[in-house]
Amino acid sequence: MEYIASTLTFTGIALIGVLGVYMVTGLTGLFSFGQAAFLAIGAYVSAVLFKNLGFPLPLAALVAMLVGLAAGLLVGLPTVRLRRDYISLVTFGFGEAIIAVLNNTANITGGAMGLSGVPQRTSFLLVLASVIVCVAIVVSYKNSKYGRQCLALRNDELAAKSMGINVERLKLVTFLIASVMTSFAGVLYVFYTTYVEPGAFGWVISAEWMIIVFVGGVNSLTGAVVATVLLTGLPEFLRFASEWRIAIYCIIVLLILNFRPSGIFGEHEISLRFLRRLFRKGDSAE
């Protein structure tokens, strides 16, 4: 039972990270290869503040998210003007730089040895509640003018600009929300595992999140959620196959690319309204 709860907790934390990637990559079409760095920022900042400086947990979490926001600004401000392919390079570099910083500030972060002795304060219920709140925010964002404009600019930036959309600002806003959200996931993470080391936040994690978004369907939040559960939850339950995890990943991605190039859900969402209609009409042709 405890094992299942722990797997679900990790899945939930990963899901919040994936939500960030979904907003940046799925909605807006920017490839962020450094998203996991925000997880690291959230985790380290909150843990150090709490453990070394005696900050109360909520304050430590808040400051961690603000630092995430500031880091997001630092990366975002110059990059939103760049072409899409350069954005992935810059965010990739940023992510690796953060890890280098963590490795080289051993007196604060413990360096490659990691930071241990953080008390466990995150529970499964807290993660569940956080996931629900984050999903709700992303749903609301997607169904607002912001989400619509993000999809528009992802599709055709020139046309989006000539519709009066401030493309650069919108990209920045989306990127910042994702940064804060991922930093928050980092707080949940460190106060659950009680131990973090820089290696856990490399670009591999960012890439994994992006794969999840693509497997689920770039445009579909439902897809992102389902794919997170499938790709991070299942392998945990299939522990015996854990060495095959990356291979399984690759096979799934290849299958998806071949048979459903736009992801499992493509652009479709399962909304409450959709479900209601499904049950009322029985077999709806839509």
Binding site: S140, Y146, L151, L158, S162
Partner: protein, 259 residues
């Protein structure tokens, strides 16, 4: 009173002078046409007016306010809307959402409203939806709201572009070859539609078009471009009889002029 005033517009790409010292004015609530052979720089004029490219020289004024050097989205919000020659609709969004994106920049709710699901967000969203439905109705796209733009027939895609441009609340509307690819009866309908829209809203229209009947019927004034330079300007009747124009554009055939 002129609403759009363009002075000495110039743009070179490498050594090619795409637009060379082009000045023109569009009177308030008027329709003007820009014609010229292929490569004369017509679309470049639109791209310069809307800020897609920076100007090499020249100034653009809208209702007396200078727009030169402003970013694209700011120019649109200041009141210059456009449609595209090669239709550029948002493929990930449905027909209604396409129009809504253009109305959205005027929707004044913020991120807090998004995070807390406030009634203000719901009200503004509903207002934008109703407004956009109305624009769809004006161009005759009622009932297509949920369709994907790419699944619409070509003529309807043109209309959707028009509805989307209307939703930006323009003071000047730039139509880049709105009749391209339409059959004769659709061209007829387009002319009527443009006239209706023009009657309904208080804005000026600039049309680039190769189908001369469109420009001749709608515009009160026509500017002829050739190799980026203004070759002639005048009323449709004057242009038809203009010697240089007929040579450069319509061919050297003798045209009957009663002027």
């Amino acid at each position: 009173m002129s609403s759009l005033e363009v002075k000495g517009l110039s743009k070179a790409f490498g050594g090619v002078k795409a637009i060379d010292d082009f000045s023109f004015e569009v009177d308030d609530h008027n329709i003007v046409g820009i014609i010229g052979p292929n490569g004369a720089g017509k679309t470049t004029v639109f791209n310069l007016l809307t800020g897609v490219y920076p100007l090499d020289a020249g100034q653009v004024f809208l209702d007396g306010k200078e727009l030169t050097g402003m970013p694209q989205h700011a120019i649109t919000r200041a009141g210059i809307a456009r449609t595209f020659q090669n239709i550029r609709l948002f493929r990930g969004l449905n027909v209604l959402q396409n129009v809504m994106t253009a109305a959205d920049p005027y929707s004044d709710y913020n991120l807090l409203d998004v995070c807390f699901f406030t009634p203000r967000k719901r009200r503004r969203e509903r207002a934008v939806r109703d407004l956009s439905r109305n624009y769809l109705k004006i161009v005759g796209l009622e009932g297509y709201e949920k369709e994907r733009p790419e699944s619409l027939p070509y003529g309807l895609q043109r209309k959707l572009e028009l509805a989307r441009a209307l939703a930006t609340k323009p003071r000047v509307l730039l139509l880049d070859e709105p009749a391209a690819g339409l059959n004769p009866s659709e061209v007829r309908a387009l002319i009527d539609l443009v006239r209706t829209i023009h009657g309904q809203f208080q804005f000026s229209i600039i049309i680039i078009e190769h189908r001369l009947e469109v420009v001749m019927e709608l515009s009160s004034k026509i500017f002829v471009l050739n190799f980026g330079k203004l070759l002639a300007s005048g009323t449709p009747a004057e242009i038809v009889c203009h010697k240089a124009v007929t040579e450069a554009y319509l061919g050297e055939e003798e045209t009957e002029c009663s002027a």
